[in-house]
């Protein structure tokens, strides 16, 4: 559904201190402009019906990627096709294949129009027959929980309500690709949960392909089939949330062993699947791969050493921890 190959996007750097001479030279292409690489050789595919998450710190290039996919931003290099259309040669078809939800209260609105009026205009504008647009107003407003605000003016909405209205606009038309830039930012937890479930159920049922940029890693873990972690325009890793977690992070077992000796600690550490053993007051933290499956081997060590286990808890790492660890590693490099 979406194919991205060797995508490179560069922005000109705005430098107010540039001399006029330099500007003229750049315009005449005598001198190269200084550029910021927002996407650096990005390649991946998104399958039809998949919900794909794009994660990364501020400025990683998430929005840039979505804009390229929506056909609003021409890349410097690479080939990208969306819904079978090339984003350069068939830009119009790409644009009309996508429902693009822009980040953060980014609302198109006209001075002093009612929400229902705006939705009607958007619907027709996006290609719906007038009667169908009018019919869908209530449906979409109900879906995002704004039905009681139907006759309110857009300018009087709160930030989160504007974001919901944005989402309602996206739901007016059926398009095969949904591009969502931080759909739940500024949305209260209850509504955010509702939106997540909507993406998971309704969009899935429609068979829509969704690319979702988000800072909420828990959300990505819940909603997305696969995610890519972007940093500085490069893909650090890509895969299902589970795979990524397994690849980059170890499970943690918190164990209370009585009595605990250096000898036992060494024996546990010597086990193949264990990464590290760290004592913490009267507990030991064991970091290792696939601990739920391997924990019995630790128990055997304790049993052979004739010690008792009085407390045991295994924690699976979350995408959040992996993400923070990855960022930390990158920044230290």
């Amino acid at each position: 559904m979406i194919k991205i190959k060797n995508l490179v996007k560069k922005y000109p750097v705005v430098n107010p201190n540039k001399s006029l001479k330099q500007r003229v030279k750049e315009t005449l292409k005598l001198e190269k402009k200084s550029l910021l690489t927002a996407l650096d050789d990005v390649s991946f595919d998104v399958k039809k019906g998949e919900i794909f998450g794009v994660l990364g710190p501020n400025g990683a290039g998430k929005t840039t990627l979505l804009k390229v996919l929506a056909g609003f931003l021409l890349p410097e290099r690479g080939t990208v096709s969306v819904n079978g259309f090339d984003i350069i040669r068939e830009r119009h078809e790409v644009r009309t294949s996508c429902n693009f939800l822009r980040a953060g209260g980014w609302v198109i609105f006209d001075y002093k129009f009612k929400i229902s009026t705006m939705l009607k205009y958007w619907g027709v504008f996006l290609g719906l027959p007038l009667s169908e647009a009018e019919e869908r107003i209530n449906y979409t407003l109900e879906k995002v929980g704004l039905l009681d605000k139907k006759d309110d003016y857009v300018e009087n909405l709160s930030y989160g309500m504007r974001q919901k209205l944005n989402l309602a606009r996206c739901l007016m038309t059926h398009r095969p690709v949904y591009l969502m830039d931080e759909p739940t930012t500024n949305i209260d937890p209850y509504s955010a949960d509702f939106i997540r479930r909507f993406i998971q159920t309704e969009l899935r049922r429609e068979g829509a392909t969704t690319v979702l940029a988000t800072h909420n890693l828990w959300e990505a873990e819940q909603v997305c089939d696969r995610v890519a972690i972007l940093m500085g325009g490069k893909i650090l890793t890509i895969g299902t949330p589970d795979d990524i977690i397994r690849k980059y992070a170890l499970d943690t077992a918190v164990i209370q062993i009585k009595p605990i000796t250096d000898d036992i600690r060494k024996k546990i550490k010597a086990l193949g699947f264990v990464g590290n053993v760290v004592p913490e007051s009267d507990l030991v933290m064991v970091y290792g791969k696939d601990l739920p499956k391997n924990i019995h081997k630790i128990l055997e060590v304790c049993y052979e050493s004739k010690t008792k286990i009085t407390y045991l808890d295994i924690k699976k790492p979350s995408l959040n921890e992996v993400f923070i660890q990855l960022m930390r590693d990158k920044n230290e490099q």
Partner: protein, 294 residues
């Protein structure tokens, strides 16, 4: 829901486009109804300017007759009435593109237009038809007030259709400058304040091209200004327009020659303007400036 998935439309039929046009126009009317007071004042303003020129005409008529004797009886009031009517259209041709691009950009509609199956060109077309038709209506009222309240000596010439053709050609010729001016919004990032190209053309045309007084006036005192006026399509269009409206001229040698000059302006500036406008959009697509932020 899933059954509707394949109804995705990339293009609209003519009939469907009409529905979009209807919606766009309804929106424009609703928007303008929000500013009722402003509409009222623009009507008052029109009346005031008609009155001003009416009395000014009484004052300057004896002196001005020699300069405008080639148009009808040489009366100043019908002369200036036609100038003002023309000025409305030429002003639109110059400012409309910039207006559309800047208003859609600032209200965040621009990306919406691009993701709509009607596309930018049709949207622009709908806007143009609407704006020119409503302006034509205003102009007709303008004429009626001029004729019936201020007693302007104006009758509908037998060659009125030629006057419309001249107006249309003038709009096309000036649109070239309008497109160049609009492309500055995207190419040179002129996103606020005065856009220098349209300002220069509008100011130049306002003073030099013969909207309220004939450029021949400059011949005695400042001949260079007269020659500058020859660089503007407005000058030729106004001359042809007045000859048709006031002298009932058809395709007389002078009118024909003015029309040919207008066509020359169209041939040069319309493609140039279109090219620059396209380049401007392309630059916005490259630098991610189709939308204000995000």
């Amino acid at each position: 829901m899933s059954s509707k998935q394949d109804t995705i439309k990339h293009y609209l039929t003519f009939k469907e486009k009409l529905v979009v046009a209807y919606i766009c126009i309804e929106r424009k009317i609703l928007l303008s109804l929000r500013f009722k007071i402003s509409a009222l004042f623009s009507w008052i303003g029109m009346f005031v300017s008609l009155a001003t020129f009416f009395f000014l005409g009484k004052l300057i008529q004896p002196g001005v007759t020699v300069y405008i004797s080639q148009y009808g009886s040489g009366a100043y009031f019908p002369y200036v009435l036609l100038g003002m009517a023309f000025g409305t259209f030429s002003g639109l041709a110059l400012s409309l593109y910039l207006n559309v691009i800047s208003s859609t950009y600032w209200s965040n509609w621009l990306e919406m237009i691009f993701s709509s199956p009607i596309g930018f060109r049709t949207y622009m077309g709908i806007t143009m038809v609407w704006v020119y038709l409503t302006s034509a209506l205003t102009i007709i009222i303008y004429f009626l007030v001029g004729i019936f309240i201020f007693g302007a000596e104006l009758t509908l010439p037998s060659t009125w259709w030629l006057a419309i053709i001249v107006l249309a050609l003038a709009i096309l010729a000036i649109s070239g400058f309008g497109l160049i001016s609009a492309s500055m919004f995207l190419l040179a990032d002129v996103k606020g304040g005065v856009e220098p190209i349209s300002w220069a053309v509008a100011t130049g045309a306002g003073i030099l091209s013969g909207v309220v007084f004939p450029p021949e006036i400059f011949l005695d005192t400042a001949p260079s200004l007269y020659y500058i006026s020859r660089l503007l399509p407005h000058t030729y269009a106004l001359d042809a327009f007045r000859r048709i409206m006031l002298n009932d001229e058809g395709l007389s040698p002078i009118v024909t020659s003015e029309i040919l000059k207008l066509i020359a302006f169209i041939v040069v500036f319309l493609p140039l303007g279109t090219y620059m406008f396209k380049k401007g959009l392309e630059k916005a697509e490259r630098t991610g400036k189709l939308a204000r932020w995000g």
